[in-house]
Structures are given as C-alpha cells and as structure tokens.
Symmetry: D3
Subunit: 256 residues, 6 copies
C-alpha cells in the first residue's frame, strides 16, 4: 500500500519530520512517500498561507494519482484543500486535524487543542464546527510559537508547548490533548510523558486512518458532491488543470 | 495484538458473523477473539434489550482484561455500555456505531443510516447527537426487519435492506450509507455492489480503529471522567463486581 | 395514586432519604413507595455503576407493574435506564435529573448544576445535551465528595456543597442551582437558605411531574420507539426476562 | 392555592374554555381564576397580536399580585410576555407552549405540533429553539383554521385538526402530538381518541406545573435577570406603570 | 428616501442622540426622522420595559406608514417588537442589535458585546441565538450602568464602558466589540480610539442596512409568516388597532 | 469610494454581468471596478475549482490595495478565499453568499437557496453553518444547470431556475429566495416577478454592505486572527508573495 503524505508547506525539514512520524506507525506493507509542493509558503500560519498552500496540495494529489497512490494524508493542521483533494481521487484523503480529532474522541470524552499561534485558533474552531466536534473540544490553546521555531528552536518551543499542555490538563477538565501542528509530529512521546495524559498527533493518526480505509476498501465517494470535478478550461499559470479528467480507476464504489 | 470483539447479544450465529467479518479485515499480527455474554438477550431491538446487554458487555471486557486484550470492539449498533467499558480498561474500546459514523465522514460529506427496525432509530439519533455527527447524517432509515431475520431469513432481509438503500441513495442527497446493525457485517459487499455507493459497516470499521489506536499507543484516558471506577460494594447477583480494581497495567498514559 | 420511587443503588439509608423527600411533597391522595434493587452497587459514581444499576431499576419497574403503580421516579441523577424503563410501562417514568432541569428552566433563564464528584459531570453534560438544556446550564460543578459521604459524613459534605453553591452563585451568572445527586434530597432547604437563590432537587421535582402526568392522564407513548419491547428469549441470569409481555393495561393512549 | 389563568386575548368564550380545562385538572385545594385583559385583540394570530396582548398579560399579573395569587398561567401558545411576567412576581409563571413541550418530552422521544394557522408556526419554532426542544419536535404543522373558528365553527375545526394529527402520526415518526393553541384546551380527549397517541394540551399541563412549583416552594428566581424591574417613569397611557415596585413578598428564595 | 428611526423609550434626549448618530452616516438623499412613542418607559432595562415599549414601536411604524416611510430602525438593543413591526409594512425594518451583530461578523470572526446592565444580558443572548450568532459572540459583558446614566452622567459612564471594553479586548480573544445600547450611539469613536479595535454601534449600522435594502428594492416579505396581520377587533385602549389593514402599497415583492 | 468587485473565475462575460449588477445599485459616489484573475478556472463548480480560484482572488485584492480600494466584493457564491482576503487588507471584504444570507434574514424569517448544480450545495451548507444561518435556511436547491449555461444558454437556464424557485415557494414554507450563483446577478427582477416573493442576489447585496461598512468607517479588524499575515518566504510560482507586508495604512481601528 502506497500512502502519499503531503506536507503542504515547502520546508523540507518539516517534510522529513512528518515522513518519519508516518513511517514509525505505518504497517509493514505500507510504503510512505513524504512530499512537499514546489510552490508555496515555507510555513502555514494564516488563512492566506493556507489558501496558497492548497494549490500545492492538489498538485501533489494529482502526482500521486499518476503513481497509483492508495491514500493521501494532508499534513497541516488546517486540513488545507481537503474537500478539493477528495474530488480528485477515489482514494481516501485524510487531514491531520480531522484525524487527531476523531482519535481523541475515541479515548476521551473531552479534549483540548494546543496549537502554535493564537491567530490560527480560529481555523481549528471552524474545523471543529464543520466536523461535528465543537462540544468535544473544551478549548483551543496556543503556545504562541511560530511554526518554524519547531524546526529551528526546538528545545525552547517544546518547553512552551509542554507548559501550555500543563495548563490544559489542570484547567480544562479534559482527558486528552490534541497537538495542533504537523510540525509537532515528533514530540508526542515527550509531551505525553511530561503531561501524563494521552497526547494525539495528527500525522500518525491520519496514516492509520488511511490504512484502515484502504483495508476496508472504502474510498472517497464518487456519488454526489465529491465526484470528480467537471473538466473545464483553466487559464494562465493554472492552464495545466484544463480538461482534468479522472484517471480511469475501476468504478466499483468499494475499491478493489 | 489481541482484539476482543464482543457481540452483546447471546446468539452464537451472530457472534460467528461478526467474528468472521472482523478477521477478514484484521492485520496479519492481529488475533481476533469473538465472544458473547452468557447472560442476556438473543437480539437487541429496544432500549430495554440494550440496557440488559450492557452487563454482559462489561463482563466480557473484564474477561478480556484477564487475558490482556489490547483492544475491544462492542459489536452492536447502539454501542451498549461503551463509556462504562472504557472505564474498566486502559485499552481502547470502540463501538461499531461510532466506528461507522467516523469512517463515513472521512469519505463523504453526508450519509444516511439504514438499520433494522424503525423503533431503534432513536438510538442512532441519540448517538449521532452525542458523537457530533447529527448534521452529517441526512436520515436514519429502517428496513423494518427483526434482527434475527438477518440470521434466519437472510435472502429476504437482504432484499429489503437493498431496497431501503436504493431509496437512501435516490432521495437523501448522500455520498455513503452506514449499515445500522452488527448482524449486517457480512452484507457490505453485496449491498455496495447493488447500490453503487460506499457502504460502511461498523464491525470492520471498529477493528481497524482499534488496531490503529493500539499501534499509536493510544489507550482510553485514565485522566478524568474515564478513570477506573472507584472500588465499592455490589450486592446480590452483582456481588462479584465488589471491590473491582484496575488490573495493574503500567501507568504511562500512552500505552507501551 | 401509587408512585414507585426507585433508588437505583442498594443503600437503604439513601432509599429512606429519597422516600421521605418524596412523601414531603406528595399530594394527599398519593402513596409513595420507595424501593431499591436487591442487586447492584451501593452508590453510583461512574458510567460502570450506572450501567449495572439500570438492571435493578428495570426490575423495580416490572415489580411496580405487578402492583399497578401509576408512575415511577428514578432517583439517581444520571437517570439510569430511563428510556428502557419507559418501554416497560404505560405509566409515566421520570428521572430526577430531567425533572430538576425542567423545573429549573421554569423559574430561571440560566442555572448551574452542583454535583458530587467531578468525574460524573460528563453524565450530566450528556443528559443536558439529550434533553435540550445545554445552553440553559452555565456550568456543571462538583463538590468532590463521594456519594456515601452524604450519608456518613453529612455535615462536612453539606458544607462543601454550600461552598460550591456560593461559587456558582457568584461566578456563573445564574438564577438557580440544580443539586446533582439523589442523596441531596433532604438538603434543599438548608442550601437554599444559605445561598439565597432557588435550589432545585430532582426527587421532589420528579414526584410532582409524575403526579401531574397521571392527573393529565398522560402516560408513556406506546406509539413508536417507546412501545413495549418485542418479547424474546434471554439467557443465563437474565432468563427471567424471556417472553416479557405488556401487562394488559387498557389501550387508550391517554390513560384512564 | 390560587392560580390565575390568563387568557391573553379578549374573547370571553375562550377564557371560559381555558378556565374549564384548568379546573378539570386542578388539585382539590387549588382555586383557578380565569381572566382576560380588558384591552387587546380578540384572538392572537400574528406577532403583532402577540405584542399587543403582552401588555394585558402583564396587567393581569399585576392584578394577581394584589390578590396574592400563588402562580400564573399564560394561556396562549406563543407564551406572550412570559419573561416580562416573571419579572413582576416571585410566583411561578408558566406559558402553555413551554408546558406542553416539557410534558411531551417526558412521555415521548419526539413529537409534532399541530397549530391553527401556518403563519404562527414561526412563533412555535422560535420558542422551541429558546426552550431547547428544537430537536425533540419533528415538525410544526398547521390545520389552517383561524383561532376563533374554534369557538364559532367547532365541529369543522375539530375535523381539520384531527386530519392534520393523522398526518402527523403517519408521516412524522413521533410518539406524541402537542396542540398549538389555547383554544383547543377542550379537544384533547376527542383528538387523542381519534388519533390513537398521546395528545398534550398546554393549559392543563401548565396548571399542573404551576401547582408543582408552588408545592415545591419554588418561585421565579429574583437573583439575576428575572429580578423585579427597576422602578422608573412611564408616560402616556402607560403612566400607571411608573414607580412599579415589588409588592413586599417575603424574600426567602424558596417561597414559604 | 425616508427612514424613520424609532427610539422605543420616551426620553427625548436619547431620541436626539440616536437621530444625530443616524444622520451622521445617512446617504445624501436620505431623510432621517427620529421619533419616540408618546406612551412607554423612559428607559428599557428589563423584559417588562421591553414588552411595554413594543406597543409604542408599533404605533410609530403605523405613523410611518401614513408618511410613506421607506424603512424603519428600532433603536433599542433588545430589538423590541421587531417581527411584529415587520408584519405591519412592506418596508424593511431593522433592529439595532441585529444590525450590529451582522456588521460585526463581516469584519471579525468573533466579537464580544458590552452592554449596560448585566440583567439585560439574557436579552442579548436570546437574540444571538435567534439570529444565528451564538458562536460568533464570545461573551456578553455589562458595564453595570443604568441606561439613563448615559444621558445624565456621561463621562463616568463612558469610563466604565471603556474599562469593560479593555477587559473584552484583553480576555475574550475577539476582533471587534459590539456596543449593547442605543444610548451609546455617540460614543463609538471615543471608545474605538481608546480600545484600539473596531467598535460597532447598532443605530448607524441599522441605518446603512435599511438604506441598502431600499436601494436593492428588497422589502419585508409579505409571503408567509410576515404577511400583514389578519384584520380583527381590538378592545379597550387598543381599540384603534381594530380592522387594521395594509395601506395599499403595490404588491410586487421587490418594491418599486 | 472605490469598490473592487472580483469575479473569481476567468470568464469575462461573467465579470461584465457582475460589474453591471454592482453598478446598478452602487451609490452615486461609488466607483465599481469589476475584475477577474488572469489565472484560474472559467467557472467554479466544485471544491477544486474553488480552491484554485482563491489564489486569483487574493491577487486581485493585492492589486486593489495598490490602487487604494475602499472595499472588496468576492463575486462567487462559495465566498472563495474570504478569510484569507480579509487578512490582506484593512478594507472590508464581502462574499456574495454571506451578503445574500444576511440580507435574506432581514426581510424574512426563513429562506431557501436556489443554486446551479446539486454538487455545490454542500458548499452552501458549510457556509450557512459557519455564518450561523443553518436554521434560517430551509433548503438548498439546485436547478442542475452548469454555471456557463447562464452565459451561453440564458433563456433555458432562466426557466429552470424559475421552476425551481416555484417549487421552493410552494414547498419550503419560506419568505424569500437566495440565488446561489454570481452569474444570476442580472436575473433577480425577472425571477422575483415570476415567483412573487423577494429574491436576493449576492453581488448587489455585497456592494451595499461594502458601502455601508466604508461609510461607517468599519474595516476588517486587524486585532487578532484577521491581522496581516506574518511576512515569510514563498517558493516557485508563488515566490512573489514572499515578504508580503501591509501597505502602511493608518493604524486607527475605525478607518479614516
């Protein structure tokens, strides 16, 4: 099974981080390919960064289709381009925010999110609403560290995150913590040990959900609103999307 | 990895059905033990049946703890005893209704449920509300067949289910269908083929979620409201629950 | 009119407490029978305790049917077995949590709950959601006292409850307080006097709601999902539930 | 105990109807006084009618305070002036819409409303939202009869209501029906018999809730947002409201 | 274009304040007439005040109809009589609470409300629920100043409001503040400057929404539940409402 | 005042349509510039089209900033890139879906949406949820016409839309209809006349909301989560976004 883990930003170090995290939990028969777009922001910390990054995510899904990927993971906590990506393929596509939220509700009744910058909290709130987990999440917290500090200033960043997790544990009446950034994918064990309650990270969660769906032969529904986009003309620097057509995968709804 | 799949009713044929379904999707290293309580109803078709069946579910979890089970699946669509079962163990416990709902939202934006009897629809509605998926489910439908007809009258039951699934597909503006009964665990392929859109069944979905959590070393949170029950006296036929204490599993929050 | 007040735990002292509270508010023509199961936990402080206690509750309803009870009260704040109990009878069945919530919304726009242990707060939250009162309740608070301390350590327990009620009054922007435990049924007056705002307790509230429904000749609907359970076989220690059938009450929907 | 049942419109026949309904269910020691404002609309079929009627309702509450009424019922399905009325008294004030909704959720899991004119359906929807019962009500239906037809054209009106109730029973997947007009207070038995499921009417329901609260010594909270209005000047035809002050009832929160 | 700005209380100073605020933002061709009822409370600080004030609001709308007003603004933050007023006219009718909420969501993702007295907070909460903005508002705060202090004790009142706005900015994780009283219509600039984030006031917001709808030729829908009230008899001091009939405006749905 | 109306697709004819509609309602002092991206899809009929179009929208906002635009309108019913666009400017940015929804709630209590293709209905549903109007919208309907048919096959498209609007009026219990596509901006009058109830179109609505905010000197909040994006490196075809910095507008929160 081939899972394409897409880091939506263009920082290679972060691609490596999420790739390693993914491989650490992947099943024996699973091949993880971690990629990043050629075009886009070096980190995603705003609606603007996220909107631009979605193009790269979609191109990575198209590239994956040419290599017959069995599933995709979008490794940024805003799940950029998730529904658009699902339109492009019969394979499952999993966002790391949704993956972490789903897993958190299976082992606790209430959780908090600890993310990087406060300004991205609204993105998590909107996703919680759309996915149905508004009431399962007690609070979205921020450690107020820029995303790239996770790469460049790791020890200090980790301390701030752990401090915020302690506050979540002691004040929020929760059973688990969700880490709100793909760049934290390698910190789960340390944080969980320091904080003493389950800590869920989305990259690893998404890999297991993707494997699960593939094994269950459940792919993105092509019946209704996630069907392949109608082929059409695109102009300018997006002309290569013109006449986009599904890659001819078998049409049985449960994949085989 | 040892997963205990608990059929909450006492019909051995149904235990066999869910066990086979579970094994069909389990990973190579996973051992599935399918069990059923000694005490309880032969099928679950009401709040009453469900309440009684919860006792057997909980005893099966305790039995599993003595055998060091790594995870549990509760194979009845009402998820009877789910939160109580989670209190009894550090291992993950997954209900098949929640499992099916979670998976459905990962491959479609909206789904419908097709269950057995209309009277149990309210159980699904309450679970959808509690889990957060009220708005992801367009409609809870019933084929109006008693649960045991799935065992004893399989062909006719299958036809009625497929008919209802056709109506769901054509009228509900959905991308996927969730089958609302553990006894339908062996029908997924036939129904999906007949109806032409993804059909999600909870037993198989729950097995994969359980495996996923075990691999991620995420167990039921013992911090807060799912901690082990306080040991206390029980009387009469439940005296054997007196002084119940956690089985001494290691205390690191992420299991190892 | 005969109202059966069922204490779901097996502690006789608590049965006496709820029985006295019930009798204090019952109408002249109402006979209150306070009972407790022979089988079950001595107190209810977890999902597990609650699940086991539901069996005893249901047996007490069946016993009540043989004595032509006119209504039932389930005197534990988690309302254990409520919907299952309703299936067993045409008579009204009232849980004390729902009773207290309903009454609280009739005399205030927002209320808080003060319960025993923090770990049971999630039970109140789930009930508030199911009953529709999520937004009427500002906060679920816990005095962090074990249930049986109400019996054995009354003065200290009362002080802790009053302290928490003061915090609720001063911080929560509320008009009333709901006491979250059947064992507090005799404390209402003292607490209300100490705190200076209305304090609602569920046992007394439920008795009045039960009397009201009986007088209105409104019984549990037997049309749809609360109809009598389909008779079926039960095994083992629950064999006596086999072939359960409605007791032949008149079939007019509004009782007479 | 003195309960003042206020018919918010000025049609004496309807006051008689609600008064009789109230007396039919009142406890032996309860005295029901049914009144109507001197000023206002002859029926309430719009937001406009309702807004004007609220003034009369409030004057009737003030009149009741001078007679030491123990509780109030507002006998129009829009519950006009309900929160304002609560501000004027320590006594409980119950609206018939809320009363009917509360009772309906105690005997069924889902209900429908059958009201007079479709245009007033939005009023019921807004109340369901505010009271928390949005999801307990499957549908608000209208028989499309003017309110006064209940008085003047009773037989034909009854038939239309029964027809609509049949549709509710057969199409809405419900367990009970709420009648959406005070003028239907005398039709409950006939409709319930014709339709074969519980039919809840608000006047009788409200009387029993009011009696219940009085017996429980629970009055409208004067702590917070339902406290007595700040006395102030009113001008013109409302000058008599100037300097309005609480009538000096004892200040213990639970009434005695 | 003629916009009638209705101050629902009878304090002329406040009418002047809202009139000036309205004129300050009105388009060149817009004539603003600021009025107040002859009958009603001098300020609105409770459900009771609000209910009485609604009558005056409605009479002011009727007066406006006789003068062919093109739109109406109800200049009290509780939006008293809003839906009733809409029934009386084809013209748009805008409440200042709804206007402020709508505008706030267009320039921020989350806002807080700062109002006068804590006891009126519940009115804002109910409106937020009805209008759909419950989750866009983080918190309803009160400066605890009586409404008329805005007139009589302006400097002190302003300071308290600014203090509360500072707390909102620093604690609530918001992007904007909504002022919760028509009497604050002249304070926007000072508060915004002091607090450093956008401050939305409803009178000015409502004037622009009213102008917008008129320009778009969109009037209150007369199809369905906001149609003109059915003419009928009124008694006593409201007899002049008898036989109320629409003023014969053209029946095209988009006004011209 | 300069309003930049951005057609997110690259079809010049549609840009002309929305520009004309905008100019038709703009105030005398308002200059409308209608633009379209150089790069992107010719129409927007899927999540994929929408994600790609967001880049062009954002570039058009940046272009507008260089020309000191006072406000922006995003003229596609999915409001693509809305929150990202708001980050880029102090000026108001209005999406046509939100604009239409807001206006619809001001003139009716419930509305339906009539859009082009059923597959885009989910986009409208998600926006309704995020904006808070889920319960104000009875139903999202589709005429099942491709977007460009509005340009190329106008008469037939109009007929299908009118047919669907008739069904909405007759079946949905609504007061108004929202047209769910920017390409319908010139059809409002015809449809409203044919259907007989108010028809709201988003381009014109958004222009008036944008003008209103500018007049009120209310711009997008730069306090909190809509602050300017943190400047950073972008790679590849998005390199021109590197080091993006706010254009140095004055920092007073209410614009001047």
């Amino acid at each position: 099974m081939l899972i394409r883990v897409i880091n939506p930003n263009t920082t290679a170090g972060m691609t490596a981080t999420v790739g390693e995290a993914a491989r650490r939990v992947a099943a024996p028969g699973t091949k993880v390919v971690a990629t990043q777009p050629d075009h886009g922001p070096v980190s995603i910390e705003s609606h603007f960064d996220e909107a631009i990054s979605a193009v790269g995510v979609l191109e990575e899904v198209m590239a994956g289709e040419r290599e017959d990927a069995d599933a995709y993971v979008i490794a940024c906590f805003g799940d950029p381009g998730l529904l658009a990506a699902r339109e492009l393929t019969r394979a499952p596509v999993i966002g790391i925010a949704e993956a972490a939220f789903h897993m958190a509700t299976l082992i606790s009744t209430r959780f908090s999110v600890v993310t990087t910058l406060g300004r991205t909290g609204i993105i998590a709130e909107h996703l919680l609403e759309q996915y149905g987990f508004r009431h399962h999440c007690r609070r979205v917290r921020a450690a107020e560290i820029p995303v790239l500090d996770l790469e460049e200033n790791g020890a200090a960043a980790l301390n701030r995150i752990i401090d915020e997790c302690h506050r979540a544990r002691d004040q929020d009446n929760i059973g688990a913590i969700v880490l709100g950034c793909g760049g934290m994918a390698d910190l789960t064990d340390e944080i969980s040990e320091a904080v003493g309650l389950p800590v869920i990270e989305g990259v690893t969660a998404a890999v297991k959900l993707a494997e699960s769906l593939v094994t269950l032969r459940l792919g993105t529904s092509k019946h209704g609103d996630l069907a392949f986009p109608r082929p059409k003309a695109f102009t300018g620097r997006f002309e290569h999307f013109s006449g986009l057509a599904p890659s001819g995968l078998p049409s049985t709804p449960n994949r085989d």
